[in-house]
């Protein structure tokens, strides 16, 4: 298996959550790719380290799906960069992603924190 196939697998693995994380990040305002990586790292207390090999394909896919829009702007440090902004469609998607995420967390939680008497029966 080549290096590239490994990248693909990682994207698939993270797909649902990465999309949601990106959309959530963009909720706070338009941001460029580097900014998104930094924001996710800061907010997660350095736990979430998004690979660029996953981020950029995801951003471009989200744009194709119409959930984000992009435009070229100058950053504060006078660096020209591509800023992504969440669309109305993207907000709807984020809501449903979040919904599903909560369901999954709840479901996993109920498996992991089973009450002893139920497990005995």
């Amino acid at each position: 298996m080549s290096e590239k196939d490994q990248y693909k697998n990682r994207i698939e693995l993270l797909q649902g959550t990465l999309d949601m994380l990106i959309l959530q990040t963009l909720q706070w305002g338009p941001q460029h790719g580097y900014g998104i990586v930094q924001a996710l790292r800061l907010r997660s207390g350095d736990v979430l380290q998004v690979e660029t090999g996953s981020l950029y394909p995801a951003l471009h896919r989200l744009e194709r799906q119409g959930w984000v829009q992009s435009e070229w702007k100058q950053s504060e440090s006078k660096q020209k960069a591509r800023y992504y902004r969440i669309t109305a469609k993207g907000k709807k998607q984020l809501a449903s992603d979040l919904d599903r995420w909560e369901q999954i967390v709840e479901a996993i939680g109920s498996v992991m924190y089973v009450k002893p008497e139920e497990s005995a029966s």
């Binding site: 080549s2 290096e3 590239k4 196939d5 990248y7 693909k8 994207i11 460029h32 790719g33 580097y34 900014g35 930094q38 690979e51 660029t52 090999g53 950029y56 394909p57 995801a58 471009h60 896919r61 194709r64 070229w72 950053s75 440090s77 660096q79 020209k80 960069a81 591509r82």
Partner: protein, 877 residues
């Protein structure tokens, strides 16, 4: 270079690069702000980012248009690679184009003849031609009108059955009389074919038998040329053989009638003048004059239909046994191989040539595959680098296959242009003759699809195989030890050897077949047909088609004979109504007096009507009895001359002289026996023929002159002599006998010309193939050879080493090829003459030729290797 500007690929690609660049710049800026040194920051940011190219690649895949943009990239890459080696590109394209053109040319001929048997007709797959009795080439029309009508009305399996009979006629009434091919047709003729008129109407069913309705339908081309495309032609009267007839309609452009390969110019009903009542009311003899074609009902198979018609025919035979002696079983043929017209010959010749062409294409693909493989092996470093940069094998293979496909598309386009010309060369093979032949290739969508399919297949074949092999090589190995993996590893060596063996194995049968065909042609040309062909001139006089009465005709015939005989330079003049070896013949049932034939026993003989001195002019000896004399005229008893085959068939072991044969209900007395001679083909099995006296039963008039010098020189004098009798006499087909009889070998010429060309291509490909591979492998072994020589090997040893390697391949290929050839020649056995299908002389000479050429091809690289200086050879890695 911008390939898909509309898709914005270039712009998006640039933006992606800028986006990534911005990312890196910001990361560096952050790190510098945190106090890192500029250089360390740059390196750390790059490391953190990862493989930039790969990120770009994966991101690009998100853009959609999924395959199109990478494809565009691959095509551009393939073009760049091909442009880098113009020698290979041009050679490969030319080779492929020739091979594809060979296929498409033969296919266009098949398309124009067998696949388009009746131009303009609807669903020709449902049409079948009906034959009564034996199935043979160019049979005589098999049905009488009454039999045809019964078959048409009593069958349960046909949507319609048509009948026709055609012949030459003279169009009079204009400024100049003109000869045209006219067909008497059943009223449903155009209906069954599914053709609608462009002007006026076609025949009505009630017009079929009611006599004296002289209506005519014109072909589009006749309407245009002779009647200036007169839009008001319908209802006008024109003159045919001095009889007024009314134009009722014009057929669409391209419609030429129901017999494959023959052009009809105008159509009338079966008995338009009411003068043929006898023919319309009898069931045998001269009343058997119709060719019949049926359209099967949907869902009915040919077998069912044949059974159905056999039942009907059985009843007819039971009701009229005296009119149906001989074989009456009905056979049905699809129009693509209908024995009536040209397709019988086509079906016997063209598919075999197409198979040959396919072998040439296969051979070319194998040759190109070796070239490609060698090229890829020499490019293996580049491939390895691409692989280690992240290209996976599928991508590499796709790219390399694409190079093959790009080549083959270009080659296909070239072949398309070439074929649009070569498809029209088919007509060249047929000498001037007395039939309105319209044989030629056609260039339609089927041919274009054929070219596309064969070029893509060839492209895949010569791209995919080597590509898959080359992409297999492990990148690290290749990069690490360039020179150690000699000739790209043993796998490639085996593949190369296999391809060379395949090329020799494929070219050998081609050479054997073409050798057999060429020798057949020589045998045909050298064969003695049993009659004199040189110094003979023939000229047709359209007496029967010009509207003369029977008595007038007889007087004119005698006058012609007298005048032409008196011409200076004429040795002997005679009349006949048949020229041998022109693909035509007349046949009728003939029974010895008192003989009762068994059911279905066919006693058909060829017959020809000839005037006195016919046998003298053709040098056909009369073995017993006498030749015809001027006294054998209509007042005298009917007489016959039979050939040896007929004599043996009817009166084995007896003296045929004085015996009687019953033909058309009349008795003919045998007065002579002529030596056998060729009737249609030199390689025919002898068929019995009876000659009748021209002045008793002759129909068409052909003047036959034996000349002192070149017969062509006498042509104007003969024409003048005939026109002196009556200037309105149509004279046509004036040509030497030699020229007319070429028709009999025209298919042999087609076969040997094409097979010869294909074999030549095959030989060149096989020899260049083995040369290329041996030269390449020898070059790859330069180092090894240097070592061998340094260790004491002599130059002869080196020569032997290289030669043996090449000869080993040749030997394998020839062994395989021989087996292939021996299996294949059975299929062409039918087409050969004077030579066996496994003729040892041909096979041995082909093997020697191929062997000698391969030896020569191997000698050059061997010689080069031998002359190398061992010291410099060892250095070369």
């Amino acid at each position: 270079m911008k390939w898909f500007p509309g898709f914005g690929f270039q712009r998006r690609n640039r933006e992606l690069k800028e986006e990534i660049d911005a990312h890196l710049q910001m990361a560096i800026a952050d790190r510098v702000a945190r106090g890192e040194a500029e250089e360390t920051a740059r390196q750390a940011a790059a490391r953190e980012f990862g493989n930039i190219l790969l990120v770009q690649d994966v991101t690009r895949q998100m853009w959609g248009g999924g395959w199109f943009e990478p494809l565009g990239r691959d095509v551009r890459y393939a073009l760049r690679q091909l442009r880098k080696s113009p020698g290979f590109t041009i050679t490969a394209t030319a080779m492929l184009a020739v091979a594809i053109c060979a296929n498409s040319t033969v296919f266009s001929w098949i398309d124009g003849t067998m696949l388009r048997p009746i131009p303009g007709a609807r669903d020709t797959d449902d049409l079948v031609s009906l034959q009564r009795g034996e199935r043979n080439f160019s049979p005589t029309p098999p049905f009488s009108y009454l039999d045809y009508r019964d078959l048409r009305e009593q069958n349960h399996t046909f949507a319609g059955i048509l009948a026709y009979h055609h012949d030459w006629i003279t169009l009079t009434g204009g400024a100049l009389p003109e000869r045209a091919y006219i067909a008497n047709v059943s009223a449903n003729y155009f209906d069954v074919l599914g053709i609608k008129p462009v002007l006026g109407r076609f025949f009505l069913s009630e017009e079929e038998t009611r006599p004296a309705i002289p209506n005519v339908v014109l072909s589009y081309s006749l309407w245009k040329t002779r009647y200036a495309a007169d839009p008001a032609i319908v209802g006008k009267s024109i003159e045919i053989a001095r009889h007024p007839v009314t134009v009722i309609g014009v057929a669409p452009e391209g419609v030429v009638g129901a017999m494959p390969g023959i052009r009809e110019d105008l159509w009338v009903t079966l008995d338009p003048l009411g003068t043929d009542v006898w023919r319309m009311t009898h069931r045998s003899g001269g009343a058997v004059w119709l060719n019949v074609i049926g359209r099967l009902r949907p869902g009915v198979s040919r077998g069912q239909a044949a059974q159905d018609l056999d039942t009907v025919m059985h009843n007819i035979v039971a009701a009229f046994p005296d009119d149906h002696l001989g074989d009456n079983r009905i056979t049905l043929d699809p129009m693509w191989r209908s024995p009536f017209g040209a397709n019988g010959y086509m079906a016997a010749t063209l598919p075999i040539l197409l198979a040959f062409a396919a072998v040439v294409l296969l051979l070319t693909s194998a040759n190109l595959a070796t070239l490609t493989l060698v090229r890829f092996v020499s490019r293996r470093r580049e491939l390895a680098i691409r692989q280690s940069l992240g290209a996976n094998r599928i991508q590499l293979v796709r790219q390399m296959v694409l190079e093959g496909v790009v080549l083959s598309i270009v080659a296909g386009a070239v072949a398309l242009v070439l074929t649009s010309w070569t498809s029209k060369t088919f007509a060249w093979f047929f000498p001037a003759n007395s039939n309105p032949l319209i044989l030629n290739g056609s260039m339609d969508h089927k041919v274009v699809i054929g070219i596309a399919v064969s070029s893509l297949l060839a492209g895949m074949l010569c791209g995919a195989l080597p590509a898959w092999r080359s992409a297999h090589a492990p990148a690290i190995e290749v990069l690490k030890a360039e020179s150690a993996s000699i000739s790209g590893g043993s796998r490639n060596r085996k593949l190369l050897s296999g391809l060379v063996v395949a090329q020799i194995a494929l070219s050998l049968p081609l050479l054997v077949c073409s050798g057999l065909f060429l020798r057949t042609l020589r045998n045909l040309a050298g064969a003695n047909p049993g009659f004199e062909q040189d110094h003979i001139l023939t000229a047709s006089v359209g007496l029967n088609i010009a509207g003369y009465s029977h008595d007038e005709e007889q007087v004119i015939r005698h006058k012609i004979l007298d005048r032409v005989s008196a011409l200076p330079g004429v040795k002997v003049a005679s009349l006949t109504d048949w020229i041998p070896m022109t693909l035509g013949h007349k046949g009728d049932d003939a029974y010895p007096e008192g003989y009762v034939p068994h059911p279905h026993e066919s006693l058909q003989v060829y017959h020809a009507e000839v005037a006195p001195r016919y046998f003298e002019s053709l040098h056909i000896p009369i073995l017993e009895g006498r030749e015809f004399t001027p006294d054998d005229d209509e007042k005298a008893p009917r007489v016959l001359i039979v050939d040896q085959t007929a004599a043996r068939r009817y009166w084995p072991g007896q003296d045929p002289l004085g015996k009687k044969l019953r033909i058309w209900g009349g008795l003919f007395t045998v007065v002579g026996v002529a030596r056998n001679s060729t009737h249609i083909f030199v390689n025919e099995s002898p068929e019995p023929i009876v000659y009748m006296s021209f002045f008793q039963v002759g129909y068409e008039t052909i003047v036959q002159v034996k000349t002192e010098g070149n017969p062509v020189d006498l042509a104007p004098a003969v024409e003048n002599a005939i026109h002196e009798i009556d200037t309105r006499l149509p004279v046509f087909d004036v040509r030497p006998m030699r020229e007319s009889t070429q028709m009999a070998s025209s298919f042999a010429v087609v076969q040997s010309a094409l097979a010869g060309m294909f074999a030549l291509i095959g030989l060149v490909l096989a020899v260049t193939g083995i040369y290329g591979v041996v030269a390449y492998r020898t070059q790859m072994r330069t180092h090894e050879i240097g070592v061998r020589m340094a260790l004491g090997a002599s130059r002869v040893d080196v020569l032997r080493l290289v030669l043996l390697q090449g000869l080993w391949l040749t030997g394998m290929g020839m062994a395989l090829g021989l087996a292939f050839a021996l299996g294949l020649t059975r299929f062409i056995a039918r087409l050969l003459y004077g030579i066996g299908a496994n003729d040892p002389v041909t096979v041995v000479s082909v093997v020697m030729l191929l062997g000698a050429m391969s030896l020569l091809a191997c000698y050059f690289p061997a010689h080069r290797a031998m002359r190398r200086n061992p010291v410099s050879a060892i250095r070369e890695l």
